[in-house]
């Protein structure tokens, strides 16, 4: 999952900060539970769980990031 996010085009990478959590660790599990996630892989955007159990297509992910960016930067 992290790879699909890291593979985003540079212009999108510049808009976001990526944080990856290791589910083997207690910190990773704590974050997973904070997000109320249930399955893996999971992706949260702006602290909200958006994708669970599926890896979104790059176009879909880009569109969602851009939508959120525009909402915060009208």
């Amino acid at each position: 999952m992290a790879e699909s996010v890291k593979a985003l085009p540079n212009k999108i990478q510049e808009l976001i900060e990526i944080r990856e959590w290791d589910m083997r660790t207690r910190k990773g599990v704590d974050r997973f539970r904070e997000l109320k996630a249930r399955s893996l892989p999971s992706v949260a955007l702006d602290g909200t769980l958006v994708y669970e159990s599926l890896i979104p297509g790059q176009e879909e992910l880009i569109a969602e990031i851009e939508r959120r960016y525009r909402a915060k930067n009208p």
């Binding site: 589910m23 083997r24 704590d30 249930r38």
Partner: protein
């Protein structure tokens, strides 16, 4: 050279060591080093003269290792050595790099592959219950009995329970209270354990690895292991413990089982046994059998678990029989 074992505990302040002695009564010496080489918490474990051992421990506490070696080495008591001499040899082994810091938690392995085993847990220092359990288990024709902590509890019978566990050679792991009592930190109303039984508890592992048929399993008590100094999320069996304790909250939160299923391919065992929750549980998730070991005594019944390797695979049953404490 004595048998050396790098057992556990290492953090930024202390490194803990376990030295396996030769030629003296206590089979192990436990100690910690801080900073460069300051000695702390020396314990001669498993035998010896308690008064003299305590004196040596007090005299060396807080002293630099190098400054005290000359006072310890060469003293003879038996077999051309002594407890102080063995401590000096332990320090020498540290300096030479032959003795490494011990691990945060102890892992023991039942070397024999079993076909039928019994799990008992949460005895809470109840001697009557343990006696009744051992009587009942006698008719189960099991090849091993595993005690999954807590052996002790808020009980005046703790000493007798620990002695009986030891006498019957039950392969036990330390629960949270067992660990606490091993450190001499009994809860207020409970009388301190005898030094002998405290040492028995101190030498109990936190994790027991076993084999049923061709399936490898691990058993642990619960969350206190994660709080031991130097615990690493990447230590052997830490993944299994993190998933049980933190992700699933002792298998109570079934909503996260899909995530657990995604993690089980990284497990090193196919059976995970725990007992902190005090509930009898059985779940199969992601090809791993998770067993929660409940209370040995509950609502007028004594309880135990039987795990058996059959032609149809592993079969697990919780057994109970009525019991009236006197």
């Amino acid at each position: 050279m004595s048998a050396l074992r790098g057992a556990v505990e290492q953090n930024n302040e202390f490194a803990s060591y376990v030295f396996h002695t030769q030629g003296v009564c206590p089979p192990e010496i436990h100690f910690r080093l801080s900073g460069e080489d300051t000695v702390h918490q020396v314990r001669f474990v498993g035998g010896g003269c308690p008064g003299n051992a305590l004196l040596v421990a007090r005299l060396v506490d807080g002293k630099p290792m190098n400054a005290i070696v000359e006072y310890l080495s060469g003293i003879e008591c038996r077999n051309d050595t002594s407890c102080p001499d063995q401590l000096a040899r332990a320090f020498a082994a540290v300096k030479k790099g032959d003795l490494q810091p011990a691990a945060t938690f102890k892992v023991a392995e039942d070397a024999v592959s079993r076909a039928r085993v019994c799990f008992i847990g949460n005895l809470d220092g109840n001697l009557e219950v343990l006696t009744a359990l051992l009587h009942a288990v006698k008719y189960e024709h099991v090849h091993a009995v595993y005690g999954i902590g807590n052996l002790t509890g808020l009980s005046e019978q703790n000493d007798n329970v620990v002695s009986m566990i030891n006498k019957h050679k039950i392969q036990a792991i330390a629960g949270q209270l067992d660990w606490q009592y091993a450190q001499g930190k009994e809860a207020a109303p409970v009388a301190p354990l005898s030094l002998k039984n405290r040492d028995i508890l101190l030498r109990l592992p936190q994790v027991l690895v076993f084999q049923i048929g061709d399936q490898k399993g691990m058993a642990f008590y619960g969350r206190y292991i994660q709080d031991l100094p130097g615990y690493s999320d990447f230590a052997p069996f830490a993944l299994e413990m993190n998933m049980v304790c933190d992700l699933t909250r002792f298998m109570k939160d079934e909503s996260v089982f899909p995530a657990l299923e995604a993690m089980t391919p990284q497990f090193s065992v196919r059976l995970v046994v725990f007992s902190e929750s005090g509930e009898w549980k059985h779940h199969d998730v992601g090809g791993v059998m998770f067993l929660g070991i409940g209370s040995a005594y509950e609502n007028g019944f004594i309880n135990w678990g039987i795990l058996e390797n059959t032609a149809d695979g592993l079969k697990y049953q919780v057994r109970k029989t009525r019991f009236s404490p006197e």
